[in-house]
Symmetry: C2
């Protein structure tokens, strides 16, 4: 090994994750030195909202202006933990232009402007670490880039947002409607005041974009992802799911079809025995299928102050090792070499094939089921099971619940439009896609 | 990045895993080149038992004598996949002496002679990769060494042997006795002719030793591990476990108490909702608890030709990157720098504290339960629940099943010796430790 060296870290943003990183680097300083031979120290923090750093960080300089970190020749690694697109993006690009390595947990930024940042970093031969942008402290990105390096990734599937999973879980455990659980989660600080990103699947889609880019070596953007959130999920669907042996989870899914790759986020019925069905509370689960390794699942808290701090610190250590050993960009940022990152076609949602769950709100009249069955048959959709029981609160309306064998999304859309136009239909049909557990096939 | 380079791999042993590695390197050659900029090729195979390599490997030279690889100046990385202690150890030490990097999947060798090998490698400044020795294709070792680098590891818990898990699963699903399931597993090739390593917990202990060494930066040996296998598990215990809400799993467990660390392998009652309880069939699950990251679980096949080949290939790629970038031993073999690996005390089993399950085979006489309760109370063991129902096949004998609150192992041993000595006891009491799910605390 090389001689002992000092690595100086500058941190922009002393919020939850920022202070978490400071705590991790403080608590683990001796351990990291025993592992790397280097003294990795937090030298400077930039934050406009705080007056002083906690006392244990008395050796750390607090500045208001991020430029005092970005332009400081003593700083080796700039860590951006303010989140959002601007000024984070400007800070990162300036740091790269100054020849500094960058670590960020900013999934919105990486998923939307990652290419610009990675290309700038490649041009300056500096590193960009973003392990903390996906799955909190779970080493998702390192596992995908390095552990599964010798695999064609056939599929990515995951529960990537703890808030949405927490809400679905509460709805499942207590039958409480979405709006009520959300209010409770907000009161307890588990959900943001504006929960759109979490519950409408956007945050999940950010993470899927990051993982797909690396898994397939492709350029893509958030617009390529088909996104449905959980705000339309009703406890009655959770109950029916249970009767069929499923749990409803908000999944990010990308199956690799070779010529095209899927990019979708939506509520999904997951077989109760599947590992992802057992990812509860605010936990995340990431399931990668490789052509050599088959299924590998990674599980843990997908957020949290110290967890995310742990992932940021892992990136800082990785880059420190590369600085010490003079091997910058030993592993390419996006797994594939920059020249090997290519655009790739996204599978149109219309082409998707999977089993479906429908909950049709039908007036309780004779002939309704035969009409529904007829429409589905016409569109080549085979019914696997039908469940019709009880009456909903609306007088005269019964939920007709149908699960299908594998069917094509385009056919499903046509069939449901036809069913919903019938006068026996009192509300739009609820459609939830069902996961095929290939272990059982 | 550096210029395109060729890395030459020499493989000793073309058995299941060896041919798997050859397949992986063949199938992934282009992909690995797009990720590393290098051409990683299998140049030579040594195997005494085969006449020729499959046709697709016509560019690979087959030799009988491993020395023709070990002494070949063109070979960069020697992969040992023959298993067992000798001649594997001699081959590896000779390769290291010749300045070659080594990759192995040999858990018996690494867990028992790892220190000698790692010290030799450090002295010659070559690398030793052993990802494939634990958890097949799951990136367990990389996650522990790099992903969780900024954590004090508080606990390791895992299902680390697929054969034992497969057998327990079959016993659970069908109530079939151990011996019968084992015979079936052997017939199907899921278990070895001599199943001792798998079912008696020795293979699991090998893996625990490897993980503990890296997690805590300690020197230890197989003798430090307290090992109990699953051959004594009766389907009746699996049934009772289910009534109490547990599944029985063969777990490797190491809790870090700071001054001492636990090292134990034994059947354990795992709460049914715990992720490890849902690791079924031949799958493995590894749960690490870090002081920063809390729980991280890794799950997948723990064995298999292509899976293990994938892990070996990941090590080959890691080392290739270090060769290309001239940064050998960028990450220390054992996570901590060689000088920081120290001996550390193992927690004596007598000091262990956990809840227990007892199945006492008692003659159906008045006063038995009060005698048992009295003995347990005398030893400070608090009963949580008692279950006594039905009669076993032996006339007059009933199983008295007791679960306890947290108790000390030494007290449990004394109490059970006292109970088993009573004349109402018709067989040795079965004792199974219960996992505490700290998420529920």
């Amino acid at each position: 090994m090389t001689e002992k060296k000092e690595i100086k870290v500058g941190l922009i943003g002393f919020g939850t994750v920022g202070s978490g990183l400071a705590e991790v680097l403080y608590a683990q300083n001796q351990r990291l030195s025993r592992k790397t031979g280097a003294d990795i120290i937090l030298a400077k923090v930039a934050d406009t909202r705080i007056e002083a750093l906690p006392e244990k960080f008395s050796a750390v300089e607090l500045v208001r202006d991020a430029d005092l970190i970005i332009n400081d020749p003593a700083i080796d690694i700039v860590v951006e933990l303010i989140g959002g697109i601007e000024p984070a993006k400007t800070f990162i690009l300036k740091a790269i232009a100054n020849g500094k390595h960058v670590v960020t947990a900013n999934k919105a930024l990486v998923s939307q402007h990652g290419m610009e940042i990675f290309e700038a970093a490649a041009a300056k031969n500096v590193e960009v670490g973003f392990e903390a942008s996906v799955g909190g402290g779970i080493p998702v990105i390192k596992s995908l880039k390095e552990g599964l390096v010798a695999n064609k990734i056939l599929s990515i599937m995951g529960i990537m947002n703890g808030t949405a999973n927490f809400i679905l879980n509460k709805m499942t455990a207590h039958g409480t409607p979405f709006a009520e659980v959300l209010k409770e989660a907000q009161a307890k600080g588990y959900a943001e005041a504006d929960p759109t990103y979490d519950v409408e699947g956007i945050d999940t889609a950010h993470k899927l974009v990051i993982l797909m880019t690396m898994a397939y070596g492709m350029k893509m953007s958030l617009n390529d992802v088909s996104i449905e959130g959980i705000s339309q999920i009703d406890p009655i669907d959770i109950d029916f799911a249970h009767e069929f042996g499923y749990k409803i989870k908000l999944l990010a899914i990308s199956n690799n079809h070779g010529d095209t790759v899927e990019a979708r986020v939506h509520p999904t019925m997951v077989p109760e025995k599947h590992m992802l069905a057992n990812v509860n509370g605010a936990y995340n689960g990431f399931l990668f299928t490789g052509d050599m390794v088959e299924d590998v699942l990674l599980y843990g808290y997908g957020a949290g102050k110290m967890q995310t701090g742990s992932a940021v610190a892992a990136d800082v250590v990785d880059i420190s090792r590369n600085i010490i050993n003079n091997c910058i960009n030993r592993v390419p940022c996006l797994s594939y070499l920059p020249d090997e990152i290519k655009p790739r076609a996204i599978t149109p949602m219309a082409n998707l094939r999977c089993p479906y769950y429908f909950r049709i709100s039908a007036l309780d009249k004779p002939g309704v089921l035969s009409t529904i069955a007829g429409i589905l048959a016409k569109h080549n959709i085979s019914i696997e099971s039908v469940l019709q029981k009880g009456r909903s609160k609306k007088a005269g309306t019964v939920p007709v619940v149908i699960t299908t064998y594998e069917a094509q999304e385009s056919a499903v859309q046509l069939a449901l439009a036809e069913i919903d136009a019938k006068d026996f239909c009192s509300a739009k049909t609820v459609k939830i896609r069902i996961m095929v557990d290939h272990d059982e096939n």
